[in-house]
């Protein structure tokens, strides 16, 4: 085989490899991209079975344990101040999970309008807010980075929500 053909063969192989990588990614993107929604967004556009990441605040006083098909589940409400969604999670809630603080749940809507979560994240301390929750707060107008102010500390979010309820 001549040098030219060998090189051609190598280049062809590389293009096949990169092509298949990009092709696989595009194919997977069509099925596996998960959108982030707030409870309002979920109520508007959620179809049962489609996987979402739901971000919002855990409504104070709504966390309870229940038995479902012989296994223990946690139930709580997630709110963005406008709409509230009932979340069911089969598992142990993360250590940083608190009522009144930010949470992100991965899962899908069931037929009854409840959210079945397969994963619950609450990565925060008193001063840190999950970026998605931050975005949700911003979207709802509780916090605007353009004004240069810092996001409100987690301990005050409850009050923010109470205020929003008073308004609506």
């Amino acid at each position: 085989m001549k040098r030219k053909y060998r090189r051609l063969w190598l280049v062809g192989l590389c293009l096949t490899g990169l092509g298949s990588a990009v092709g696989l990614s595009l194919l997977a993107f069509r099925q596996n991209v998960i959108f982030f929604v707030t409870p309002s967004g979920l109520v508007q556009q959620g179809t049962p079975g489609q996987v979402f990441r739901l971000g919002g605040l855990v409504q104070s006083g709504t966390l309870k344990r229940a038995d479902q098909d012989g296994s223990s589940v946690a139930q709580f409400q997630v709110t963005d101040g406008v709409k509230t969604v009932e979340v069911t999670y089969r598992g142990i809630l993360p250590d940083l999970f608190r009522e009144g603080q930010g949470v992100v749940a991965l899962g899908s809507l069931d037929e009854h309008g409840g959210f079945q979560a397969s994963e619950v994240l609450a990565k925060h301390d008193e001063n840190y807010m999950p970026p998605d929750v931050e975005a949700a707060l911003k979207k709802l107008g509780y916090w605007n980075p353009a004004t240069g102010q810092k996001p409100p500390p987690a301990s005050t979010w409850n009050a923010l929500l109470a205020k929003s309820k008073g308004n609506s």
Binding site: M1, R6, L18, A21, S25, V37, D67, S72, I92
Partner: protein, 652 residues
């Protein structure tokens, strides 16, 4: 006083690093032996200055000097001593100092071990290392200085995130960083070679041990990180395809490709330009991985808004290092001499295939990791890609890679024939097929395929060794005698490939793991995976800086006590945080895994897992790293050993 000394040493190190970059490279250009000779002493001086600086930080942390902002923000006087020491590098500023210290260590290592290098190449390598170091030290001094003071000094620190107060996480960053930063040496060799305009087999022989050593550390570091996530987070999973994890996986993938392609450079003087590109790419990925993750940019583009100076500086630095080396590559690479020829079907061809698959996997992981933040930045779309995306893209590429991993080593260099090679492996294929179909019928299809692949890798490695010693074809005693004659490089490849097989088997078995979540009173018994788990008691116990709520679970099988497990929850007083202390009873082929959740009305929530194969995942990683170490022992790779050209190629 001590923090000021450290602060001064840090600034001094930055200045030395700039000199270390400029003088030797200029000297190499001017062919001035005196300037080139400055490289070594400068590298040593930089290391000493950084060591003083690191000592100052650790000292401040140990004596709980809360006037140092970094100590105030990340430590507390009640924290156990070991975490006061390790906590020094558990935060952003401290970790960058550690990063720079290891980079300086690399410079000194090249100085000490590089006696046999041509003086201009050696000067340029140390110069490039100094330049990289200089950028990050400047960043540390100006924007992320761990030794700044705060006044008035607070009485008590804010404490360390309890999740990080863990022995696994104490050793994880240094090992991972040794891996990340170690790739700076192949990178420096690549850039130096481009400046030099010359690459030969000797270059490959110098680069490979460094790449291999970093690869071993990175492999261990990733395995440790995954193990930490498994036992500390208490979710029962070992890999979450989280940006932080992907950032360590990416340089591992390209680093693995580099370790293989450097063999071709060394043996056949082919793939030279590609290897240079891989060396640049691997370090670029390590660099962007650490800094994008450490600065939080990858998690959310919004963190930019919180700290624009740092973000812009880091991006600028990355652009200079990565962009600069790529421009240099585009400019100088065409000047490098043509490599040796080989047929598509040959050992070289197989290694090209290996590189192709590894780089393709790296590409899809990169796309999956980078797309969400970019989609957010460009289209304002809040999306994420999870495990399903990575499984759908990585799996189809791993399967052919595994298939080729066992065939590659039996092919001859330059030109091979597939027939005889496959003929040697027919019984391996038969075993793999039997294992695979047995598992697929017994459990599920996908794990079955994975088990088949694992058998193919492990038995294939054994077959490779058996072939070398002509097992069953010579009398057994003679075969055994031949065992000692096998070169370390062959052992290395066989062990590393088998280690990957063990990891694959672990992942496959882990996909069959079972778990339950229950809310039960003391005294009740659960049946999980053939074991009886009895909740015996719940107690509250004091800890050093936390209060522990501990459950005692007796696990029995057919009435025989297997293990007493004590999962707990720790409430840390200084942060008002709780962490989960998972109880794990390992049996090597499987783990019993118990997590204690919250309690209400006398009932405790328990999550009980039977994690089949879990320990194999990390054991495989360790075996892979051992393979790397074995390969390092090969005298042909030893830097400074007389560069004898291929006297015993037959063993390769």
């Amino acid at each position: 006083m001590i923090p000021e000394l450290g602060h001064y040493a840090l600034a001094l190190a930055a200045v030395i690093a700039f000199t270390q970059c400029f003088l030797p490279i200029w000297g190499a250009y001017r062919r001035d032996a005196r300037l080139m000779g400055a490289a070594g002493p400068l590298a040593v001086a930089q290391l000493l200055a950084l060591a003083v600086s690191c000592f100052a930080l650790v000292y401040s942390s140990v004596v709980s000097d809360f006037s140092v902002t970094n100590v105030y923000e990340n430590s507390a006087s009640t924290k156990p001593l070991v975490y006061k020491i390790t906590g020094a590098w558990g935060n952003h500023e401290g970790s960058i100092l550690l990063w720079a210290l290891i980079l300086a260590l690399c410079g000194v290592a090249v100085t000490l071990r590089g006696g046999g290098l041509p003086s201009s190449l050696r000067a340029r390598v140390i110069g490039v290392l100094g330049g990289t170091s200089a950028g990050f030290l400047l960043y540390a001094v100006l924007l992320s200085n761990p030794l700044l003071r705060t006044w008035p000094a607070p009485a008590e620190g804010q404490g360390m995130n309890p999740l990080l107060q863990d022995p696994g996480l104490a050793v994880h960053p240094p090992i991972l960083y040794l891996g990340y930063v170690g790739f700076a040496v192949p990178f420096a060799f690549a850039v130096a070679a481009l400046l030099e305009g010359r690459i030969d087999a000797a270059w490959g022989r110098w680069v490979r041990p460094w790449a291999l050593l970093s690869w071993c550390f990175l492999t261990c570091g990733i395995a440790l990180g995954s193990w930490w996530a498994y036992y500390e987070l208490g979710w029962g999973g070992y890999w979450f395809w989280d940006p932080v994890e992907n950032a360590s996986l990416l340089p591992w993938l390209t680093g693995t490709a580099l370790v293989h392609s450097a063999i071709v450079v060394e043996k056949r003087e082919a793939l030279k330009i590609w290897t240079v590109l891989l060396a640049i790419g691997t370090f670029s990925l390590s660099l962007s991985g650490t800094f994008l993750v450490r600065s939080g940019i990858l998690n959310s583009v919004h963190s930019f808004a919180n700290d624009p100076d740092r973000g812009v500086f880091i991006l600028g630095l990355l652009a200079i290092v990565i962009g600069g080396s790529l421009v240099l590559f585009a400019w100088r690479a065409p000047k490098l001499a043509e490599g040796g020829l080989f047929a598509p079907l040959s050992r070289e061809g197989a290694l090209v295939l290996n590189n192709l698959f590894l780089v393709s996997i790296a590409t899809v992981v990169l796309i999956g990791t980078m797309y969400p933040p970019f989609a957010d930045l460009l289209f304002g779309a809040k999306i994420s890609v999870g495990a399903p995306f990575f499984q759908a893209t990585v799996l189809p590429l791993v399967v052919p890679l595994i298939a080729a991993m066992t065939i590659g080593p039996v092919l001859a260099w330059k030109r091979a024939q597939l027939g005889p090679a496959l003929l040697r492996l027919w019984w391996v294929a038969l075993i793999a097929l039997a294992v695979g179909s047995f598992a697929a019928v017994g459990w599920k299809l996908l794990p079955g395929i994975a088990f088949g692949g694992a058998a193919w890798l492990i038995v294939g490695s054994l077959a490779e060794i058996a072939e070398r010693i002509r097992l069953f074809r010579l009398p057994f005693g003679q075969s055994l005698a031949r065992l000692g004659g096998i070169s370390p490089a062959v052992w290395g490849s066989a062990v590393a490939h088998a280690g990957f097989g063990v990891t694959v088997a672990g992942i496959a078995a882990m996909s069959l793991a079972t778990s339950v979540v229950v809310s039960v009173p003391v005294g009740s018994v659960q049946h999980v995976a053939g074991y009886d788990w009895k909740l015996v008691s719940l107690e509250t116990l004091p800890g050093p800086n936390y209060i522990s709520r501990e459950a005692t679970i007796d696990v029995t099988r057919d009435g025989k006590l297997i293990a007493v497990m004590r999962p707990a929850r720790h409430s840390f007083t200084s942060q008002q945080q709780t962490t989960t202390d998972t109880a794990i009873h390992t049996m090597i082929y499987a783990d019993l895994y118990a997590v204690l959740g919250d309690e209400s009305g006398g009932d405790a929530v328990l999550r009980l897992h039977y994690n089949s194969g879990a320990p194999l995942i990390w054991l495989g990683g360790l075996i892979m790293a051992l393979g790397g170490v074995a390969s390092l022992l090969d005298r042909r790779l030893r830097v400074g050993a007389p560069a004898r050209r291929r006297t015993v190629t037959a063993t390769a």
